[in-house]
Symmetry: C2
Subunit: 611 residues, 2 copies
């Protein structure tokens, strides 16, 4: 069932929704992230010259390797399509810093290299292996983009050291990473270097997890560390969302490479729990800032949603790996939900500022208490995107996601060693010519559902039928399997079909208490929201679902939507036996990903409905 | 307009709702609070013998004087009606401790007497004057109850010292109390001792507030300290709810004694803001645990309501003082709301455990995250009443409230020095004979609205017409003024009337976001709630207000109520285009004050309504 991915390196993104975003990514976000990393000492840190007495604000932190590596990875995806010498210079300088400071035995981590190597591999709560993993990913991407292998070689040395410390010597104070990520990175390193050792190291970390008494549980909480049971027995999407999603992405990669169906089934179960019980409609995850974690089934409060940008991105990575292992529209649907909602909302429309948290509701009154002495004891979700976070994993993550969006579009299966079926997982105008296959997608999706696909070098094209597409309309006959429409293109070279997009009301499960009596509005894959930027008030409106949804124009690359219903007239008394008066009214809605781009506003995603 | 209160000392509470509560208060709560104070070292602390090396859990705290004094005050109200030598013994021993440890110049505070008198009057954030105030109240009550004047004499010495330090020497590090309360206590001391000095000291604290640059703002926040403007200019119910309510109670007392209409008008404005913009339907106040404070108009979230028991009690104290100054049913309505809801919910039905916070909604899912390392960074509201709090102001406060409930029933006005009109503010079966007036109320209120009042020694009886009483039904003619029905009883000695109680839906102002599309249910003064103790689920039910409210029996001294409406069938998918199925269903409701008496349950007060 496994099929082969087409790397974004070979894919040209054509005019459309994502090419616009890539343009902003390339012209604004790339430099914005670099400049703020530079301003805050994250770039110079790689020269390992910070010392006590220097600017305290630039004192290196445990996460910094990962932040910068993710930026390098994102930059590399851009370099795959465009030669930018000044950008390579910046990266090379960072790589030189690593080279100059890597220990003889192959260790590098900004924090430990500066503050004392004796501390290395002693604290599972620290992000050492996570940082290493991001370096591995970045090194592979930079090598793929430029052919330069210095960074890659350094990281292979580092991976070799980790293999020695963990697998051979067992000399670390812990056995599996506190913050997983290295698992999927090791698979990338294995695929790039072809060295079996890295696959073995990945397998080591995966197999040791959940059966490792010696491990210090993270903050004393096995669930948080996703360390309760051996991964092959995993069922629930628990613990820190990003860590769990990265971990399970690596597990899926490992299953893909090794054919370990037990692990693959575990990946399926955990993703099912995540997507069917613990996921916001936006593809956001993490119902509380406390531990940035999964909580319990159906616990999806809107206002206090954590829904970290990285959690969405990592959910997309996880689901994408699943569709490579076994194409089923279930997975591409998740990827799509993430891409157009909870991940994309992480960056401003101008590409310059970022959300870490992506709530589904913002009410100004919750910010009324701004009492300095108590403020620190409560968590206030930012109402506008910030230029930088102290923990800034999300900005470079969204950079690399958008730069590598091509990764999510295509894959192909083989029959007797020959390309057989080209899978289209995401509807993004694009083309590629690689491994004897060429393909071309033309569409205005997500604004419009009409899609044309040309392909050669395969017998079949299988296109994902999204969950919201009641019937995929095409003049060309097709058969349906696991949510994909299979077109035989042995006699034709182009197919056209329509996903039949429409605006619709979507109801939450009745166990999601916050959404009882409410409905969300979606158009195609995009969740909508209402902001006070477009409405005098987003409160006191009840949508009348029988009046339908009106499309009034285009905004932010998608239809602008207006709901009709009843609006309550603001009442006088605090408590009254008189039911508030209701008059006909409307509510304007915009795509969720575009919220908070016009200043601080109240915002709601789930709209009360007349019942 | 002012009229004269009848002290609870002279009032006999007869069989009915409150006599049952008083019985539990006397037989359970009185000892429960004492025993837990004793177990935790609060009683022995008055011997001032704790020293480093002794049990750290019994190390005296800044609040302790106030806690114990409030218990003595409550005990004294009980002693007004019953001779209990063992109880007096306990109190006398505490008073002896004060006597033995009071400094020569008249200072006593458990904390400072033990840990160093050099610290006294140096930190406005500490609760020194608040503690003193509670001692003054307790000393007055104990003297009134027993005729013993030792405690009163000690406290007069203490008050004299405070006068000297603050008014004469101006040697304290601050000029007005951080935690007000002493203001109202000084008025009590003035009334008991007849010494003008204490009235003057009260006036000093009131007049200095809000115009006192030298004062250290509490935690840097003038609003929190209710210190932004001179009190005569006050408009908003701001800051720490209990402190503000106590303060304004004292201001109203001062206005009453001095005829200062400017201060009285300020009291009116602040109470209006509190009651019409910043009060839960239960009479609870404080929309956040952050600072236990008033936040902004209409910000009244249900789940995170702080609504401290002491805040409700102090609001009742404040409103009661207002009705003595100028009878208007507006005030008695507030007192009644507090008594039957937000104050009474502070104690369990068995009198043994207490709520500090009284939320209007409890959902178990919010407690799912119980991750030890992060727990301390979030506030979890207890779901069942506790036997003791580290800061245990509420248990003795509810003790003294119930013991002194008689205070809230009657007052009388005079004409040419003679008693003229007897006011009935609260409908509590009771009688008194004092100052040439005798009166007798017979009623099953709040279960039933039929009331009979007998009185002699006055020309008129004025009974409060509650806001929910559309028409007060009586065979005896009456005239209405400021919400009171005035009966001329010069030719009759008994009047009967009916308040015409009924169950009803009550809607919040449309600006209370949490309650949009919902309604509360009330019967007479009592707010209702639905608990999973009586319902399989309190979620997914929409009340059909057109079907009315069914009374199915009696529970907790009030009608048991059942709502009819639609219940949603639990759905499968997390998100679906299918609206949840609804079938006819019911919801059982009980009086709010009785919630959380049958274990931990989900609870809602505002019920979604079919709209």
């Amino acid at each position: 069932m496994k099929n082969i991915s087409i790397s974004c390196k070979y894919i040209k993104i054509k005019d459309g929704f994502w090419s616009s975003r890539q343009k902003i990514n390339r012209t604004v976000t790339l430099d914005a992230v670099y400049n703020r990393f530079n301003d805050t000492g994250k770039i110079s840190a790689f020269q390992c010259s910070w010392k006590p007495g220097d600017d305290e604000r630039k004192k290196p932190h445990l996460f910094w390797d990962s932040d910068v590596a993710k930026w390098i990875e994102g930059a590399s995806y851009i370099l795959m399509h465009e030669k930018i010498p000044s950008l390579e210079e910046k990266i090379d300088k960072i790589v030189d810093g690593i080279d100059n400071n890597m220990t003889k035995d192959g260790y590098f981590n900004v924090y430990y290299n500066i503050f004392g190597l004796s501390g290395r591999f002693t604290d599972r709560n620290n992000h050492e292996l996570y940082c290493a993993g991001h370096h591995f990913e970045a090194a592979c991407a930079y090598y793929e983009a430029t052919g330069k292998d210095k960074y890659l070689n350094l990281m292979e040395r580092f991976a070799d050291l980790i293999y020695k410390i963990f697998v051979e010597d067992k000399s670390a104070y812990f056995m599996t990473p506190g913050h997983p990520e290295i698992e999927l990175a090791l698979i990338k390193l294995y695929r790039t270097s072809k060295k079996q050792k890295y696959l073995d190291l990945c397998r080591f970390f995966v197999e040791k997890r959940g059966q490792n008494d010696k491990d210090i549980p993270l903050f004393g909480d096995l669930k948080y560390a996703y360390d309760e049971v051996p991964l092959k027995n995993a069922v629930y999407a628990d613990g820190h969302c990003v860590r769990t999603n990265y971990l399970m992405s690596g597990v899926c990669d490992l299953a893909y490479e090794t054919g370990d169906t037990e692990l693959y089934e575990a990946c399926k179960r955990v993703l099912k729990n995540a997507a069917e019980k613990r996921m916001y409609i936006t593809g956001g995850q993490g119902s509380t800032y406390l531990g940035e974690r999964y909580t319990s089934d159906y616990h999806l409060p809107n206002k206090t949603a954590y829904a970290e940008t990285c959690a969405s991105i990592s959910l997309g990575m996880y689901a994408h790996r699943m569709e490579l292992y076994e194409p089923d529209s279930y997975y591409g649907d998740i990827v799509e939900r993430v891409l157009y909602n909870g991940a994309l909302s992480g960056v401003s429309l101008d590409g310059d500022s970022f959300f870490y948290e992506n709530p589904l509701e913002i009410r100004n009154e919750d910010y009324a208490v701004n009492y300095y002495d108590f403020e620190k004891s409560r968590h206030f979700i930012p109402r506008i995107r910030q230029q930088m976070f102290s923990c800034s994993c999300c900005p470079p993550n969204i950079l690399r996601l958008i730069a590598s969006i091509g990764d999510y579009i295509y894959s192909y299966s083989t029959q007797n060693g020959k390309a057989d079926t080209l899978f289209i997982h995401q509807y993004i105008s694009s083309s590629f010519c690689h491994e004897g296959i060429s393909a071309n997608i033309n569409t205005k999706f997500p604004l419009d559902g009409a899609v044309t696909v040309k392909a050669s070098g395969v017998k079949y094209i299988a296109v994902r039928i999204p969950y919201y597409c009641k019937k995929l309309i095409s003049d060309t006959p097709y058969t349906v399997k696991s949510g994909y429409a299979y077109f035989d293109i042995q006699d034709i070279d182009e197919i056209s079909f329509d996903l039949n997009l429409s605006a619709r009301f979507v109801y939450s499960n009745t166990s999601v208490y916050d959404n009882i009596g409410k409905a969300a509005v979606m158009y195609g894959p995009a969740v909508y929201c209402a902001e006070t930027a477009d409405n005098e008030s987003v409160e006191n409106f009840f949508a009348d679902t029988s009046l339908g949804i009106k499309i009034t124009g285009e905004k932010f690359g998608l239809p602008e939507i207006v709901l009709s219903g009843l609006r309550q007239i603001i009442s006088d008394e605090l408590y009254s036996e008189n039911k508030p008066l209701q008059i006909p009214g409307t509510l304007k809605m915009i795509p969720y990903f575009a919220f908070a781009n016009r200043g601080e506003h109240e915002m709601i995603t789930f709209i009360p409905v007349k019942n």
